[in-house]
Symmetry: C2
């Protein structure tokens, strides 16, 4: 897998070696030997699980409702309510246009909604899902003004999406508060939306 330019040696960081440990289409595990800002005499050794970067989208209707999908998540054996999301499969996962196109496509495929005429995705930065373990990072977008698309949703059978609903902001705030939203994608989006006064 190609590495993101976000994850690269810079001031104080120098990669000595990266030993492959396991690889399939979903994950690549390596043992890395790295000089870090505080470890300039003797490099650190660290297990890193490399994953593709992803996008997460908060689709908002003209009435101000947010759209979540319910998805079965095998690693945690549960159905979770989440914002639509998807990995960036293209080789050039750092390119802004590629990231944006992935966000639009994933939203349309998972929810059946698309941006209303004249509306663009609002970028809300990114976040690392588990910075001591993986280089995975997810780009956040607010889609402020979405409408049902003619095509409707087109679920990949591997995705296991079991529901898709509009939620009022009151419902959404309650779900975050009461531990009904339990995934970093949706909670991190909520954080950025709140901090920017967007919800």
């Amino acid at each position: 897998m190609k590495k993101s330019s976000l994850i690269r040696d810079k001031e104080g960081w120098r990669t000595v070696s990266e030993e492959p440990k396991y690889k399939d289409k979903n994950v690549e595990v390596t043992m890395q030997t790295v000089y870090t800002p505080t470890r300039q005499d003797k490099p650190a050794q660290w297990t890193v699980c490399h994953r593709k970067a992803a996008v997460v989208i908060a689709p908002m209707t003209p009435e101000g409702k947010l759209i979540l999908v319910q998805q079965e998540r095998i690693p945690v054996r549960a159905l979770l309510w989440e914002f639509p999301a998807g990995q960036i499969d293209e080789e050039d996962a750092d390119d802004d246009q590629t990231i944006l196109a992935t966000a639009k496509r994933e939203m349309q495929e998972e929810t059946g909604y698309e941006l209303a005429a004249g509306v663009e995705m609002i970028p809300l930065g990114y976040f690392f899902t588990s910075q001591g373990f993986t280089d995975e990072h997810n780009h956040l977008f607010l889609a402020k003004g979405v409408v049902p698309s003619k095509a409707g949703p087109s679920h990949d059978e591997n995705e296991g999406i079991t529901d898709c609903r509009e939620f009022t902001l009151t419902e959404f705030h309650r779900m975050v508060s009461e531990n009904e939203i339990t995934n970093a994608n949706t909670l991190s989006m909520y954080a950025r939306l709140c901090a920017r006064g967007l919800i």
Copy 2:
């Protein structure tokens, strides 16, 4: 590694097999074959990276400031501002008292602060860091009322903590808004704190 009782077969979920792929002290990768609620005829196959559960703590001073540590994070080659956090190493990682004890210890070790007399940790639920990839889940706590401990911080040399500071809520809101806080632990905590009206 022992699995959490949070991650278990229940209505519609049935594990057929789990084939080991890679294991070290930090991660255990398996190929799982699982019947899911939508896949009752033919089980799904999925790569899962198993990780220990962790705790994340938001230490708040009596003046209402929040304490963050800056830590070097090898997988992402960056220094990140984060709430103190740590994995639950004990065998019984599901036990409430074990989780709470880990939260108190990690806060004290990483920041040098401890709970003020008569104050207890306020549990704020948990979250999954990357639910399509790993069973990792982190328990969130607000430590409302912390004071510098006599012992001070005691950093593990592998942690790479480079700074520890108090931030006003205004500063913290701005850092979340402007993509200076870029990790799921801290953003998910921010989400729960905001949704519950605690900051």
